[in-house]
Every structure is written in C-alpha cells, then in structure tokens.
C-alpha cells in the first residue's frame, strides 16, 4: 500500500517494515481510544436496527404522565404531552443512524466516482470536475442544505440523505483525486497499463484497494457531519417533525420551551447521544489517521520523559564555556600520527524502542576524530550510519534512544565534555558553535518558508547576541561568498535555488559559526555527478583553509577513499573495519570491505572482474548470531556464526588498521591475509 510504503521509507530502522497489511489493520484495534470508538459506534448501530422493537411505548402516544422526570416507568421521563422520551430516543436512533450512514454511503460513492475519475483520466475532464468540487467545497453547505430542505418540505429520511449527499461529496472527491493522481504515477499502475489491462480493472484492482483508508476516513467523517446536519435541520423544523429522530425531539423540546420549564431530561439525552456517536466516530477516524500517517503513530511511543531519562543517568554539571568571539586559530594540517583528538566516541549504542521489542541500530561503536581529520563512514542503507550521525549530535528522536556510551568533545583549549550528558542550555550552546551538520537533502533540511539569509542569520542571532544587524548581514554575504553563491541570493527561498546551490547554501549555514567539526550526512547523494564533484572540491578547499574536522557519511566508497584520511566501514550497526584511507584501499582487511571495494570499478589499475557481495543487508530485528556478516561471507568458517568478533587490531603496513573479523582474532598481524585474499576477491 502507498501509505505503508511511505511508512517504511520514513522509519529507516523502525521495526515495522515487513508486517502484513492485515496485521496493520489489526493494530488499529490496539489503541484503546479507537477500540472504545468502535464499540460505541456498533452499539448505536445495533440500537438503530432493534430500537423500535425494544421501545416500551409508542413514541407518539400521549398519556397523563405529563412532563415527568425520569422514573421507573419512564426511564428518560416524558414530554409535555406525556410521550415517553426513552421510546422516542430509540425510534430516533433509527432515523439518525439511517440518515448518517445512508448519506455517508451515497456521498462516498459520489466522491469515489468523481475523485477517481478525475484523477485517473486527467485532462479537461479532470479540470472541470476539480473546479466543480472546489466550488462545492467553498459553498457554505448548511445554508444550501436548508434551502434545499425548505423546498422539499416534510421530506423524510430519503430526501435528507439526498440533500446531504449533494452538498457533501466535494471534500472526499478532492482528497481521492489527489491520491489517485499520485497512485497513477506509481510503478505497479504504470506496469498494469503497459500490459494493456482495462481501465476499469486497473481502477478496481490497483487503485481503489490502495485508497481504503482514505475512503474509510471520509466515510466516517460524513456520517458525523450527516447526523449533525440532520439534527440541525430537524431542530429548525425543516424535516417531517412527526417522524422521530434525535433532532425532532430537540425541536419539540424547543417549541414547547422545555428549557424554561426546567425539563432538562427532554433535551439532554438527544444531544448527548449525538455527541457520543460523533465522538466515537471521530475516535475511530483518529485511529485511521494514525494508520495513514506513521509519524502520528510514533508520536505516542517516545516521550520527553523517555528522552530525559536516557541522559539523566550520567549527568554531571560542568561550568559553561563562554562563547568564542574571535575566529578559531587555524589548525595545523592533519598528519596521520596526530594524537590531537577532538571527538572521542566510546561504546555508543542506539536502540529503537518499537512494539516488537528493542532493536540496536548502532551497537557499541567507538572511534576517534582528530583535529583536521576527515573520517569517512561507509555502509549500505540501514547499516546505522545516519543514526550514528544523529546520536553524536543528540538529534535522534524517539523511538531512537542512546542507551549506552559517551561522546567526548575536546575544545581547542583542551577542555573536554561529554555531549550525551549535557544539560539543555549547554547542549544548545555546543550545537553549531562546535559541531554543525550538513544534511543529506538540502531540499528538506532548509525551512521552505524562510529566506536563505534568514536561516543563516538566526544562527548568528542565537549564538552571537552581540552582533549588530549590519555585522550579521556582512557575515551572511561573506558565508555565501565562501560557498560561491551570489550575495543577492540571500533573499531567495530554498525552492528558488538549483539543487547544487541549495546544497552549497546548506554548507554555508553549517559554516556560519566556524565550527570545529562538521558532520556531513550524504551531502552530495541527491546531486548529479558534475555538481557532486564541485561540492566535494569546495568542501575540501574549505577544510584546508578553515581547518575544521569532518565526519563524512556516505555509501559511496570510491568518494570516501578519495577525500578521507581515515575510513570506518559499518555493517549491521557496528564498525567492522577502520583504517587509513590509502591503506584501506590497497589492503582491505574485512571480507565485507573487500566485497564493497570489489563492487565498483577503479579508474586506473589492472582490469578485474566486478564481483560485489551476495545476499542483502541484515534485518536489524533478526540479526544472525555471531558475526553479522557471516551468512554472506565467502570465507566464513564454523566459528563465525557462534562467536561475535571484536574490532581486532592489525599491525603492519601503513599504520594500524582494525577489523572485526575472526580471521584476525588470534594472529596479531597479517598472517591470515593470504587466506583472505584467496577467498575474498577471486
């Protein structure tokens, strides 16, 4: 289903990818609110059917028990004419429920017909139908309904149903048209059309089943609206007032001034019944909303409390560092034997708390970033690299939780803090000042309704409160200049820039405070190759002149080798190999790295066959025992599925490399390398 696809794409590692559709529908029932709503709705439906049969009196027959309060004989009391209100309510349930559901059926059929036809056919027909729907949407429906009803005096339920349907179909039609339009462009519909399937069949088999949730939501919404409209019309005396409905009861109560005589039992039950049924239907609709929109579903899982608890465990107050005023002293160029660590990540573990238990997206990851270094983190999608980037900066959102580890940052003056145990204010001061992030898609990461300049300016306003407006404006121009954007583009909105320019604007935002570290999460993935090259060249140039350190995350290993000093490869939430870039390129240690390197061509060097890796990345919910890569590993041996390898240190060659592979478990050096080379790439 479209909505599920969106759900899966949205929640990278959230554990819901492979639940079958029917299970998803069942999940609706798990919410207590939705369940309550469903039960109440069913009760009213049943009452609507059997009401007249269980009513103790004829609702219209008069008696001598005039205007009596609730009693044993008359559960809800009597009217001015001695009619039994409980019986009237039961009879009324039938009329109200009939009008509600009847109108919803007719309205939904109309909406589906118009919406799907318009969306599927497109062209002039679509334009006309959409215009018609929009016109009906802005017409105030109740006055129109009143007029129509007034011309059909004393109309029964059928007339009311027709009137409500005529005025109410537009909303559903508009939503369904939009859905159909997007469905029509999807692969499976295109495929069905390409194979020459009949239009009616495509609509029935491919389009409509994907719209069930939306249709259901629109149906339930219409039931509520119709019951309210019917009650309003009846209350105004525009329906047949001798036919009992909840609205008619209120009409007679109003006409006979029940309010003034204090006969509260006359009008309270009918209104409550309408409100109760309406609430119940709305609750069911919320359930459907959450089903359609996975972000709403997740809203309930992780709370502020959970977030707080997660960092409260090891919080220590440290004196707040004062904000830097001048530019940072230029760092010495990075050398491989540097020990000037700026970021030290230790045993970091990030878990997703889902309905099916906890999933480790990042598992005991440790690494260090030295001043001026470019650390490249490579991995397939779902390997946990983006989750890692968010956790370092504490930007992970529930259901993700950092359950273990430290992220120690050492400032230029030598003070060290643990990012994970910072208080809110301290964290706010640390962010962007010391560490900034460049996101994957500038299109989504820049606020669509703020000018580029303003999005740089608010960083300056927040962190440099003493800067004057002119100084800020000058800095914005300077920053845009650094990334090669004309100064007049500061007044542009993100959608007005080209993809490459947007990404450069994003980098300009990242440079605003001259940070020590910039985390780049696939900063060029969405761009074409030429632009990609330009951006990378710009980043490297800036790094050399401004002297920041970079954590560069991508799945593009060839790019990483080119620009990184050190490379870390992630697999199944763990780092499986870490080595100097040149060393890694010439001698990858881990079988997975070998596979990765073998899966793309090099420009120079001898010709070789591209092999790649068999199989697919592991499911984080069902990680294989032992080494996570073992099921796909060409050199795996018996022990691999039993023992989890640590990140072993391997001496020799161009510096120290580390690999999490049992091949290196015992030997302290490259003794097993020959064996590996034999199995890995041939």
């Amino acid at each position: 289903m479209a909505v599920q696809a969106a759900a899966v794409a949205e929640a990278d590692a959230a554990p819901e990818a492979s639940v079958s559709p029917s299970r998803l529908w069942l999940r609706l029932l798990r919410s207590p609110l939705t369940c309550t709503g469903l039960v109440i709705t069913v009760v009213f439906l049943v009452l609507g059917v059997i009401g007249p049969w269980i009513a103790p009196y004829d609702p219209s027959s008069v008696s001598h028990a005039v205007t009596e309060g609730p009693s044993g004989a008359h559960l809800l009391g009597t009217t001015q004419n001695g009619q039994d209100l409980f019986s009237q309510m039961l009879y009324g349930a039938r009329a109200s429920v009939l009008v509600g559901f009847g109108s919803a059926v007719v309205t939904t059929v109309l909406s589906v017909l118009v919406g799907v036809t318009a969306g599927y056919l497109g062209g002039l027909g679509d334009e006309l139908l959409s215009l018609l729907a929009n016109v009906f949407l802005v017409l105030p429906s109740l006055p129109l309904t009143i007029i129509l009803a007034a011309y059909l005096p004393h109309s029964g339920s059928l007339g009311i149903i027709l009137v409500i349907s005529v005025t109410g179909w537009a909303w559903g039609a508009r939503v369904l048209r939009a859905q159909t339009l997007s469905l029509r462009k999807r692969d499976f519909v295109e495929a069905a059309r390409a194979t020459g399937e009949r239009t009616s069949r495509i609509i029935l088999k491919d389009i409509l089943p994907n719209q069930v949730a939306v249709i259901a939501a629109s149906f339930l919404g219409t039931v509520t609206a119709a019951i309210l409209t019917q009650a309003s019309l009846a209350f105004l005396g525009l329906t047949d007032v001798t036919q009992w409905s909840w609205g008619t009861i209120l009409y007679w109560a109003q006409v006979n001034s029940a309010l003034l005589t204090g006969a509260w039992w006359w009008f309270v039950p009918a209104g409550l019944a309408i409100a109760l049924l309406g609430t119940a239907l709305s609750l069911v609709n919320f359930g459907i909303d959450e089903f359609i929109n996975p972000r709403l579903r997740q809203a309930g899982i992780g709370t502020k409390k959970a977030q707080r608890a997660q960092v409260a465990g090891h919080r220590t107050r440290r004196p707040r560092r004062t904000a830097r005023t001048g530019p940072r002293p230029p760092a010495a160029p990075f050398t491989p034997d540097s020990t000037d660590v700026v970021l030290d990540v230790r045993d970091l573990r990030v878990e997703y708390a889902g309905e099916g238990g906890r999933v480790r997206a990042v598992d005991d990851v440790s690494f260090t970033l030295r001043r001026g270094e470019v650390l490249g983190i490579a991995g397939e999608s779902g390997s946990g690299k983006s989750t890692l980037a968010y956790a370092i900066t504490r930007l992970h959102k529930p259901p993700a939780e950092v359950s273990n580890g430290e992220v120690r940052y050492t400032a230029a003056d030598g003070t060290t803090v643990d990012v994970l145990s910072m208080g809110d204010d301290e964290l706010r001061g640390f962010r962007w000042e010391e560490l900034s992030i460049v996101f994957q898609s500038a299109m989504h990461a820049l606020n669509p309704i703020m000018r580029i300049g303003a999005q740089i300016e608010d960083v300056l306003t927040a962190h440099r409160p003493h800067m004057s407006a002119q100084e800020r404006a000058a800095r914005i121009v300077e920053l845009l200049g650094i990334v090669g954007i004309p100064a007049d583009r500061a007044d542009s909105y993100p959608h007005e820039l080209s993809g490459g320019m947007r990404q450069r604007a994003m980098i300009a935002v990242g440079l605003a405070l001259d940070p020590e570290i910039i985390v780049m999460d696939e900063p060029t993935t969405a761009l074409d190759v030429v632009i990609q090259r330009q951006i990378i060249a710009k980043i490297m140039e800036l790094k050399d002149t401004l002297g920041f350190s970079v954590v560069f995350i991508t799945h593009d290993l060839s790019l990483l080798i080119e620009l990184s000093d050190t490379i870390a490869v992630m697999y199944g939430g763990r780092i499986v190999e870490m080595a100097a870039a040149a060393d890694f390129y010439h001698r990858p240690r881990h079988p997975y790295s070998r596979g990765l390197l073998a899966s793309f061509p090099t420009l120079g060097g001898p010709r070789r066959e591209l092999t790649g890796i068999v199989g697919s990345p592991p499911d984080l919910r069902r990680m294989p025992s032992g080494c996570a890569f073992s099921p796909r590993c060409p050199v795996a041996f018996e022990d691999c599925s039993a023992r989890e390898p640590a990140l072993y240190r391997i001496e020799g060659g161009g510096g120290a490399a580390r690999a999490a592979c049992l091949l290196y478990a015992d030997a302290g050096g490259g003794g097993t390398e020959h064996e590996l080379a034999r199995g890995g790439t041939q």
Binding site: L33, L131, V135, L139, P140, S141, L142, P143, L144, I147, L148, Y151, P153, W171, T224, L228, A231, S232, F235, L236, L238, Q254, L259, G262, F267, V268, G271, I274, A275, T279, S282, L283, F286, R295, L296, Q298, A299, G300, T303, K304, Y390, T393, L395, R428, G429, R431, W432, I437, F439, Q440, L446, N447, P448, I449, D458, V459, A462, H463, Y493, H495
Partner: protein, 324 residues
C-alpha cells in the same frame, strides 16, 4: 500576484456558480411554491410583490434566458422583493438589519477559535506525550456536540440557573441601536453566551488539525536542523515547526468556515439573536422563499470573501505558492 489573480478568478467563477445555483434550485424543485404563496396571501400581495415572486420562481410566459437576465438584475440591484415572514418589509431591509449582527459575531468567533485552537494544537503537538494529549479526546467530544444543543445547555446553566447572562436577544430592550456606550456594552454582554458556544464548539477542529500537522512537521529535516543549530526552543517551535504546520489549516479554512457558519446560524436560533440565522429560521418556518434565497446568496458571498482573504494570507505565508 498571478497566483492571487488566479484565486480571484476562481472565486468569481464560484460566485457565478452559486448565484446561478440559486436561480436553478427553485425551478427544478417539485410543486409550484409561487402559486402556493400567492394563494396563501389571498390577494393581499401588491402587484410588485407578485412580480418579484414570479422573477424568483420563473414566470411561465417568459423564456428561461430572459428570466436569468432579470434574476441577475435583481442580484445587482439588491432587489429581492418583499419578505413574507416579515411582511411587508423588503427582503433587503430585513437583511440589512440582521447581517451586521451575524457578521460581527461570526468574525470575532472565527478569529478567536482559530487563534485558541491553533495555539493549543501547536502546544499539544510540541509537547506530545504529555498531559496535553488529553486535549484531543476532550475537544473531539466538544466538537461532536451539535452547536445548538450546546447552546441550550449553556443557556440552561448560565442564563437560567446562574442568571449571569441574559436568556436571549442581542441587546437590552431599554437600549436603542447606535454607537452609544450603553448599547455597545449591552450588545457585548448579550453576545457572550452565543460567542462562547460557537468558540467552544469550533475550537476542537482547529486544535486537532494543528496538533496532527505539528507532529508531522516535527519529524521534518528542517526542524531537526533548527535544533542542530542550537536555536532556542521557542524559535524552533514558532518559526520552523508551527509556521509550516499552520499552512494546511489555512488552506482548509474554507471547509472549517463552512462548519462554523452553519453552526452559528442554528446557534442564533437558540439565543433568538437578531442575526441572519434567526431570520433564516423564520423564513424557513413561513416558507419565505425570497428571503431564504437572498440569505443564501448573502452568506455565500461573505464566505467566498472570507476564503479569498484566507487564500491571500496563504500566499503571503508560503513563498512556494508565489511562483506562477
């Protein structure tokens, strides 16, 4: 600018469609309401009133096109004939006296409930997972209550039992209409209960819509980036999350406004408020078709204007729509 012009064009078309619909409805409805009405008055109608009635329902001796033209003529001159519910007042006079009451009441209530609902919805979305979540079922219940029934309960509690506010009407009978302090304060005093009814009953829709959009927006990358930038929570909430989350509320303004207007009309009846709703009720009771169709036109045009304003505001708030 072009977007605004396109919008304007759309509303002109819609207005034309609505006004024409108003022309068509009486002609396709079963029976002959005109004859019934004329018979009801047993020859007491003036010839001009009968002529106006014929214009409304269609004379049998003139062509449809001609009828349509003279209908448009009456729309532009505001000459909708004589009201029967308020005989012998002219329809335009009846409307002139009542429309301002409704206009002021509904405008104030819509602004109030939009501000309160959107504000609370923003907070509920921002602080999701806290006690504010309980606002959702509560306001759902409130917005499922029929406006008029809620009005009855409000009257029962505040006017009859507590006697804090007057039972019905728009101002004290001792006051005369005009811009005197006494009249204005009296009108405000009388408007409290109707306004309370409308605001409470309509606030839930805004609240829930905003809350859900807020939750959706909070997982957008640009909100995450705003947090990463170390901006204050307030700045992230207002300028990044709420401003974006508000846009769908505004673009759905038309439908919400339709509900509010419809609800208010019925609410007026309960309070016997001197606005259009009460007039419409009386018109419907006495089959006063000229008055009803004029009211429909008036409400439609006002709602269209309100929607146009909301659309223009939207263009200013969302730069993406400003492109052609």
């Amino acid at each position: 600018m072009r977007t605004v012009l396109t919008k304007l064009g759309f509303y002109v078309v819609t207005a034309w469609a609505a006004i024409s619909l108003n022309f068509v409805i009486p002609r396709i409805m079963p029976g002959d309401p005109a004859d019934n009405l004329i018979n009801q008055f047993h020859g007491k109608l003036s010839p001009s009133a009968i002529r106006a009635l014929r214009v409304l329902f269609g004379q049998k001796d003139t062509g449809l096109w001609h009828q349509y033209l003279s209908y448009w003529h009456s729309v532009f001159t505001g000459d909708f004939g004589t009201s029967y519910a308020y005989y012998p007042s002219k329809v335009s006079d009846v409307l002139g006296q009542s429309m301002y009451w409704t206009l002021v009441l509904i405008t104030a209530c819509t602004v109030l409930s939009f501000v309160i609902g959107t504000g609370l919805g923003m907070l509920a979305g921002w602080k999701r997972g806290t006690w504010l979540d309980s606002l959702v079922p509560v306001t759902t219940f409130l917005s499922s209550i029929p406006y008029f029934w809620f009005a009855i309960i409000v009257v029962l509690v505040f006017a009859i039992t507590l006697k804090w506010f007057p039972l019905s009407g728009g101002y004290a009978v001792t006051e005369t209409i005009g811009f005197s302090g006494g009249f204005v304060s009296s009108a405000l005093y009388y408007a409290v209960l109707p306004a309370l009814t409308i605001v409470v009953a309509s606030v839930g829709g805004w609240l829930i819509g905003m809350r859900n959009m807020m939750v959706t927006t909070l997982s957008e990358d640009y909100v995450r980036l705003a947090e990463a930038k170390g901006l204050s929570r307030r700045r992230v909430m207002y300028h990044y999350a709420a401003r974006n989350a508000m846009l769908p509320s505004l673009s759905g303004f038309a439908m919400s406004l339709g509900f509010v207007v419809g609800g208010s009309i019925v609410t007026e009846v309960v309070f016997n408020y001197p606005g259009i709703g009460t007039v419409l009720f009386k018109a419907a009771q006495s089959a006063d078709y000229p008055l009803m169709s004029a009211i429909f036109l008036l409400i439609t045009v006002l709602v269209l204007v309100a929607n146009l304003l909301a659309d223009v505001a939207y263009v200013f708030l969302d730069p993406r729509t400003r492109e052609s």
